[in-house]
Amino acid sequence: MASWYINRTFFFDVHPPLGKMLIALSGKLSGYDGTFPFEKPGDKYDGARYQGMRLFCTTLGALVIPLTFLSIWEMTKSLEATFIGTLLLLCDVGFMTLNRYILLDPILLFFMSCSIYGCFKVSTLTNDGLLPFSPRMLSWQIFLGTSLACTMSVKFVGLFVVLFVGLRTVADLWNILGDLSKPVKFTITHLIVRTLTLIVWPFVLYVFFFWIHLTVLSKSGNGDGFYSSGFQARLEGNSLHNASAPRVLAYGALVTLKNHRTGGGYLHSHHHLYPAGVGARQQQITTYTHKDENNRWQIKPYNRERVEGTVVVRSGDLVRVTHAPTGRNLHSHRERAPLTAKHLQVTGYGEDGVGDANDVWKIVISGGKDGEEIQTVRSKLMLVHYLQACVLTTTGKQLPKWGYEQQEVSCNPNLRDKNALWNIEDNVFDDLPKVSFESYASGFLERFYESHAVMFQGNSGLKPKEGEVTSQPWQWPINYRGQFFSGSTHRIYLLGNPVVWWTNLAFLIIFFLVYIINSIKEKRAEAFGVSRQVGEGSLLLNAAGWTFIGWALHYIPFWAMGRVLYFHHYFPALVFSSMLTGILTEYLLSSVRSYLSPELGKTAYHCIIGVVISTTVYSFYLFSPLAYGMSGPLASEPNSTMAGLKWLESWEF
């Protein structure tokens, strides 16, 4: 990806651009020239200077640890809790593996940790009663806003951290509101300042990152096809760049029609018939994503062969569309389409433009009024078949071999088909003045909007295929199965440190129980007047509650996602989960300690802490080969060095 930034060629990816831009920047600074192809995992870096980029990612990944330390400290002010929580994260092999390579995840996790830290810092400052406009408060809020924007611009999962910070902010405001010694105005000032720093400012930054992205990538590349004609006109080297064509469509013009769906092709036909058994044996009509002479069509009025002079085609006109190279008319009739049973077949029919009444189409501008002029590129057209009342559409399904694996074109009786929109791209007509395509090129906001639409479509398009092994959310917290990172001789396998993960899992459940028991106790104590001292315990439990919310926010939404999921999606949740374990350990230990005599309590406390620390560190030592690379036979064979560590059948290292 970084190569493309450095070469400034345009590409398409489902994630927002900031992470990739940062990697490219680090690559550029460390002298990487953007020539290495990055084809598949396991390829050797032959002389490419990748170390700079890797160093950059790893540094960010490493910084997550101190940031987590600071966050827990900010929440609990308890050194033990902070230390254990951070240690768990530090000793997790999977976390380390993920942060060692040129991936988006370390960057994401870094910004996410910044946000968490900022968020709790702001909330501490608020509790200290700092005024909304005091410089310290303001600078921390801007820091928080910036981190949020960065998180969002690396991957869309950043949205969950935005939600988390949002909840935390609402809770802060709620606390301020509950302070009856302060006027309501005070809360409102806080609200306004937070809206500015945490909503407006990140949004501006986010748009700014996209602006950089779209400005830097000014050359045509392999991602072009995903975007509309207007978008392509902006890219150097694309055939639409600096081209010119008449502004409006006139009868007799030679045009190409591009489908408006994302990645849609050009309306296409060729000298081949539909095979026997697939509707009528007439000429095939398809969509084709490449530019080709066979994409050219001529627009004629429905009743005459040619028109004298220049007559502009208007929305609502009845037209015939003739395929220029073969002279067949675009035609549809009551036969089922080759692949989609409910649609009608579309064929090329007739001889040198002479066909029958089924060749008549009504050309309509979507959302426009009758009589509007049809414009090149700008107008979104629908071609409605006059007799069958269906719209020309493409289903996006690939035709079999007889159709050269181009895409099916059909006529849909449901006029609300989203894929039935077309626009005119090339427009050859000599009698009209030409305008440069520059004028059609979309502005920044349009392109911003379009790239989002394409990204979301790309994201939701990542569906698992039948029979494919995909990672499922329930497998993640129990560390059921990992993910291969690198090839066969020097293997790297992304898998969490089971000791850390299973402890985390246990503590999630323990937290749930502790929380319920505690609230029942509290409620009953309140009602029946038994006094309970509120002290450090409640602070810890409160902090644990917030980390639990953070964990749930970063984990539960994945259950509802239809797209392909990977193991590494769990790592943001892991950060929260480790924090929770740290805090809860301290909470439980100090409650146990309060039941014991001071002398015994102290001893037990230190013993347990010692055991926790040493187990964690030792398990890290055991599993570290997963991250640093293993060689030799697979662990399923008994003579492997890792044989003893295959604790679960499903691990594949």
């Binding site: 295929k465 029942i520 009602a527 029946f528 509802a560 239809g562």
Partner: protein, 724 residues
């Protein structure tokens, strides 16, 4: 409502008769609207297609598979069988006229009566939520005058039954939380039964169940600071949850028990189920596999079925893999092995021990056991099942599986497979037909024979790909023997003839216990991914529902423009949507005011606002939100369970506004104005209801301009016959 109360006093006997006039009135009105010309149109309307078909199958006792639970269909069947329906009508497509032997009226009566009682239960539920009687009447009227409930309850559809059960359940729950002791228990049991029925009609009834769990949970939470004794508290919590968990589950299981015992015969959906399940039905596979030998032995002729997921059998045919695939990779050019979804003579394989040459089964048969190594010969071509280190055609990460042809190149046969019986009782288990689930592990590479889920291109006749995969634990590696017989002749020609002509003599029946069947059916229902007709013309998105963007066309008369649509009463619909917004806004305002210690409302008003309002508000979102995460074609009728809560919330908001107006001296005189507004609004609802009811009864021929005048939103699509 009728209450008979016998008062035994020493001298006289009193018979007190109390009649709730309002309730009776509402019920009569509802019955009138719902039952009016119930058997018209005498055509199949929308999903009557499916439900009618299921009723026919119930009548004949033929097993069918459906992803929804069976109670609703059983109720329809009950009505049908009382009216004497013989099951001889094929529900082939929407719009087909019914013949005289279909008791349309009886079949439609169940939903229609449920739909009428729905009006009644809203009335009682609103009373129970301790609102004014007028509010309860208003709520009931809104439900009565709602076109979508009318349309949904006039045909053989299940929503009205489901909603009725659900609301009754919620009603009983609320009753139970207000009582103590035995009465509370009785109400709770009733609620549990009703809720069990609710989600046995449709799984979306589970959301009502969750709502009830929440209500009971809240009740216990409120008791925490009222009951001093810890044990009593624990006890009250325990029995409540025990009742709420066990009874609905028991109802659900017994509904399935009835379902399975009502359908003993094999039918069209058999192939969805495993071989063992099919063999337990009368006819169908059972009649074929009846009495085939149990133990697979050396020389057995078998068909191997892919057990879980897609139904297909291990298959091979006299065609080879193409030398080069479309993407340029090479293949072994050996005979194709595929998974074929239809019965075919090419699905037969012969089990052979590698060291024995003769294929005839010895006496006694030499049974294959767990861990034995065998070869599998394809029956027709006599080639052995083989795998080797060549990438498979469509899934290159796995190994290719082929039938070995000796080309005399340096590629030796690797045709030994280890039989790994997954559900074995002991290490010595024999390989049994139908019952044993086996994994065939390739001896040389340790990979398992697996169905990959992908289709082969045209050269493989679009059959499904078979590979050998390193990951053994995947459920697609599991196979079972379906048809099975012993080879008698040793000669190849003879064997082929035997294959083509063989018939079996039945001797014993396969039996499955209810629990085995039940768990299998549940598993299949969960795993069943409907081949959704994506882009159905009247499908809609959850986000479009609150604004009634789309309607659903249920039926169009073949000879006039009379038609039936599922469409809401748009006035109620929009005010309902507004009421949700109003409630959220009020909730926010009241909480913020309370936080600032401003008490605007007396505690009882505020309490009701939280308790009643919250129940309805939560009910609405619980029934609505989940649909955003469902990846299926959705229709407007999925919104109805949520919508009824919205209507109740709407009535509550009216009540609340009235109360607030009453509270202050200044606004008191506005009350009359408010009542006037509500009356006008209500009469407007009546008018709209009347205007759109032609789309519910479907008995009036509509002209083009009639339709245009009904088309209040340009996203609504009505259907017009083309003039000829």
């Amino acid at each position: 409502m009728l209450t008979n109360k016998m008062n035994h006093s020493p001298s006289r006997i009193y018979l007190q008769l109390k009649i709730d006039v309002i309730a009776i009135g509402l019920l009569i009105l509802a019955l009138c609207t719902r039952l009016y010309k119930l058997d018209e149109p005498r055509h199949i309307v929308f999903d009557e297609l499916h439900y009618g078909r299921y009723v026919s199958l119930y009548t004949k006792g033929v097993f069918f598979f459906d992803a929804h639970p069976p109670l609703g269909k059983q109720l329809l069947y009950l009505a049908g069988s009382i009216a004497g329906y013989d099951g001889n009508f094929t529900f082939d497509r929407i719009g087909t006229p019914y013949t005289d032997n279909v008791p349309v009226k009886a079949l439609r009566l169940v939903p229609a009566v449920s739909g009428s009682f729905l009006v009644l239960i809203t009335y009682f539920l609103m009373l129970e939520l301790s609102l004014h009687q007028w509010t309860a009447i208003l709520a009931a009227l809104l439900v009565l005058l709602e076109n979508c409930f009318l349309a949904q309850s006039r045909f053989m559809l299940l929503e009205s039954i489901q909603i009725l059960f659900g609301l009754c359940g919620v009603y009983c729950i609320i009753k139970s939380t207000k009582r103590i002791g035995l009465t509370a228990l009785v109400w709770l049991c009733a609620a549990a039964v009703l809720l069990g029925c609710c989600f046995s009609v449709k799984y979306s009834g589970l959301y009502t169940y969750y709502l009830s769990l929440f209500l009971v949970g809240r009740h216990i939470w409120l008791q925490l600071d009222q009951i001093k004794s810890g044990t009593r508290l624990l006890f009250s919590a325990l029995w409540r949850f025990a009742v709420l968990l066990i009874i609905p589950l028991a109802v659900y299981v017994s509904v399935f028990y009835m379902h399975l015992s009502m359908l003993p015969k094999a039918g069209p959906h058999d192939s969805v189920m495993t071989s063992a399940f099919q063999a337990s039905l009368q006819g169908g596979l059972a009649s074929i596999t009846h009495g085939q030998p149990l133990h697979v032995a050396h020389g057995s002729q078998i068909t191997l079925r892919h057990t879980h997921g897609r139904t297909c059998w291990l298959h091979s045919h006299a065609h080879v893999y193409p030398v080069r695939y479309a993407d340029g990779r090479g293949s072994s050019h050996q005979q194709q092995v595929t998974c074929y979804s239809f019965k075919d003579v090419n699905n037969w394989w012969i089990v052979k021990r590698p060291d024995q040459a003769s294929l005839a089964v010895s006496r006694p048969p030499d049974a294959i056991r767990h861990g034995d190594i065998v070869q599998l010969l394809h029956g027709i071509t006599s080639r052995a099942l083989n795998s080797h280190d060549v990438a498979a055609a469509v899934s290159p990460q796995s190994q290719e599986v082929s039938c070995y042809i000796d080309y005399n190149v340096s590629m030796p046969a690797q045709n030994l497979w280890r039989v790994d019986i997954v559900n074995r009782d002991s290490e010595e288990s024999t390989w049994d037909s139908i019952r044993s689930l086996v994994r065939l592990v390739h001896v040389d590479t340790g990979s398992g024979l697996r169905y990959s889920g992908r289709q082969l291109p045209a050269w493989g006749f679009h059959q499904h790909e078979i590979v050998a995969d390193k990951v053994l634990s995947h459920q697609d590696t599991i196979w079972n023997v379906e048809e099975h017989r012993y080879t008698k002749a040793d000669d190849r020609k003879e064997r082929e003839r035997e294959l083509v002509t063989a018939e079996m003599i039945p001797t014993a029946v396969t039996q499955l216990t209810f629990w085995e069947k039940f768990t299998e059916l549940q598993y299949k229902m969960i795993a069943h991914a409907p081949d959704a007709p994506h882009g159905h013309m009247f499908a809609s998105e959850p986000a479009e529902w609150p604004l009634l963007v789309r309607s659903i066309a249920y039926w169009l008369s073949p000879d006039s423009n009379a038609q039936i649509h599922l469409i809401g009463n748009i006035v109620t619909w929009y005010t309902g949507t507004i009421s949700v917004v109003v409630y959220s806004a009020l909730l926010a305002i009241y909480s913020v005011r309370k936080r600032r210690a401003c008490e605007d409302l007396p505690p009882f008003v505020l309490n009701k606002f939280y308790e009643t309002g919250y129940t309805l508000f939560l009910g609405y979102w619980l029934h609505y939100l989940p649909y955003f995460f469902i990846d299926r074609t959705l229709f407007l009728h999925h919104y109805l369970p949520a919508y009824i809560f919205k209507i109740l919330l709407l009535a509550y908001i009216m009540d609340h506004i009235y109360l607030v107006l009453q509270l202050h001296e200044k606004t008191k005189h506005v009350t009359n104005l408010f009542i006037l507004c509500v009356t006008i609004w209500l009469s407007y609802i009546v008018l709209t209801f009347k205007k759109f009811s032609v789309l519910n009864y479907g008995n009036v021929d509509l002209k083009e301009n009639d339709l245009m005048s009904l088309r209040w939103k340009d996203t609504w699509d009505f259907i017009l016959h083309k003039k000829i």
